[in-house]
Amino acid sequence: MRYSELTRRYFAAAADTAGRLEGAGVARGAAGSRAEGTWVQFDVRIDRAAADGPRVAAARFLAFGCPHTIAAAAWVAEQAVGRVPEPALPQSAQALRRLFEMPVEKLGRLLIVEDAWLAAVRGDGAKSEH
């Protein structure tokens, strides 16, 4: 499997942004299943006292999956910081697939990343395995 430069960069640095957030104001959401080969969890801390409205103050992820999945989850966690906590990825799953040059058959893994992000932002903690 050949990986794009962006995929290699975020996959290599993923451990830097992987982890959990603890404490008050942290929302957690997860999607997928290790047994099925892909599982992603996001922890999001939202600053609701920001002058210009609620913002993502911090985001962390955990992921079990292929390099594309891990790279995309790391990218989402990085890009989300400072943004309005919307129940949508900074870019659509299709756009992310093109950005990371993922094979089309891996789109389903990006949808798991998206579902985990939505679950975290909505604070419903969906399908968490932990």
């Binding site: 499997m1 993923a14 451990a15 992987a18 957030l21 962390r60 955990l62 079990f64 390099p67």
Partner: protein
């Protein structure tokens, strides 16, 4: 950055410089470049002599007679010729074949094609250690069984089957010919075609420091074995494998097999020490499962599954340091987890998170330490990313 340590010798090996030197002598105008089928001049005659000398030398390296050996393009062609060749020749007598679920695709796919054409195939389930018992073969034999095909050394897990015991079962049956895929055997364990009792045996050159593109099928003609050819047009190889014999390739194969036979004991002793060190280093990481029989396996193959990591990510994480094979679907040519590991009872996750380490003649202790360090670092990192090691930040 230095090149990754090559630990994929079960996939292929570099050509031994001694082999390359013999091959080079057959290629240019001052060498043995003639067509071995051209009997009317000295160039062809010399090539013919080189081919026949290679046949004698290659056969001797595996305990066979020269007249038993057909050169092919590789073990895949040899397997196809064995399975289809026997099945077609014996079709009036029976249309049942026995093989194992852990065979190479070069045997399984021809068997499936024969099923589509009306043959029946029994696929034996090996034990969790990968061993196919002779009693299983015996129980599967039927009056209409014409072929049993069991590989000697499994290419993924390195398990050595007891071919002698299986050959005895087939001999008692009387009608079932035994084909053995020995592509992984030469140089890794002793190969003696005459003594093992097999009727047919497939060989490869490139697994044993020979060139790609050449192999052989051994046929026990003295036991009256007959097969039908798959390709026609020239009648080379006694009419069973038409096509100009590639002199440099067969000379290379003969040299490689000869060296392998002479150095197998020393190579295997050294590989066993390296394999033991590798296994100890990997096992120390925890969550590690060894695939295949430790007691009945070759020293040059170690197959390990790693818990709590995904296979493609594991391979990508170690790729800069070591070149290995994996059971991960995304990293292999086919879209499935290792069917061999699945047949041993491994679940899909463990089958996909496996690495096959193929040790060889040129593997060093430094390569092994590099592999252990690379895998240890990858496991720690991927397990942390996966939340297996609690790392609240």
């Amino acid at each position: 950055m230095s090149a990754p340590a090559y630990l994929d010798c079960a996939a292929t090996t570099p050509v031994d410089p001694r082999v390359a030197a013999e091959m080079a002598a057959c290629l240019t105008a001052d060498g043995v470049f003639g067509n071995p089928s051209s009997g009317g001049h000295v160039y062809g005659a010399r090539a013919r002599e080189a081919v026949e000398a290679a046949r004698v030398r290659a056969a001797a390296a595996v305990g066979a007679c020269a007249e038993d050996l057909l050169f092919t393009s590789g073990a895949t062609e040899a397997d196809n010729l064995a399975v289809f060749g026997v099945a077609r020749h014996a079709r009036a007598r029976g249309r049942h074949i026995v093989t194992a679920r852990t065979e190479h695709k070069a045997v399984l796919d021809p068997c499936r094609e024969l099923e589509r054409r009306g043959w029946q195939v029994t696929y034996l389930q090996p034990g969790r250690d990968g061993i196919v018992e002779a009693a299983q073969v015996e129980a599967a034999l039927r009056a209409d069984t014409v072929l049993v095909s069991i590989m000697h050394v499994n290419n993924e897990i390195g398990v050595i089957q007891d071919i002698g015991a299986i050959a005895e079962v087939c001999a008692r049956h009387g009608g079932a010919r035994l084909h053995v895929d020995a592509a992984q055997s030469t140089g890794k364990c002793g190969v003696d075609f005459a003594a093992c009792g097999a009727d047919l045996m497939s060989l490869s050159a490139h697994k044993t420091y020979g060139p790609k593109g050449v192999g052989a099928l051994l046929l026990a003609r003295r036991r009256g074995l007959q097969i039908e050819p798959l390709q026609f047009g020239g009648g080379q190889e006694r009419g069973l494998r038409s096509g100009t014999v590639a002199t440099h390739q067969v000379v290379g194969m003969a040299a490689a097999l000869s060296i392998a036979a002479a150095e197998q004991s020393a190579d295997s002793r050294r590989a066993r020490e390296l394999q033991q060190r590798l296994w100890e280093g990997l096992a120390a990481q925890g969550g590690v499962v060894r695939n295949g029989s430790e007691a009945c396996g070759v020293a040059q193959i170690l197959n390990v599954s790693f818990q709590d990591v995904e296979g493609e990510s594991l391979l990508a994480s170690v790729a800069a340091e070591i070149a290995v094979s994996t059971g991960s679907a995304c990293a292999s040519a086919t879209d499935e987890a290792s069917y061999v590991l699945r047949a041993l009872g491994r679940d899909a996750r463990l089958a996909e998170s496996s690495l096959r380490f193929g040790l060889g003649r040129f593997t060093t202790a430094l390569d092994i330490e590099r592999a252990i360090a690379a895998v240890a670092a990858a496991l720690a990192r991927l397990r942390r990313i996966g939340g297996v090691c609690d790392t609240a930040s």
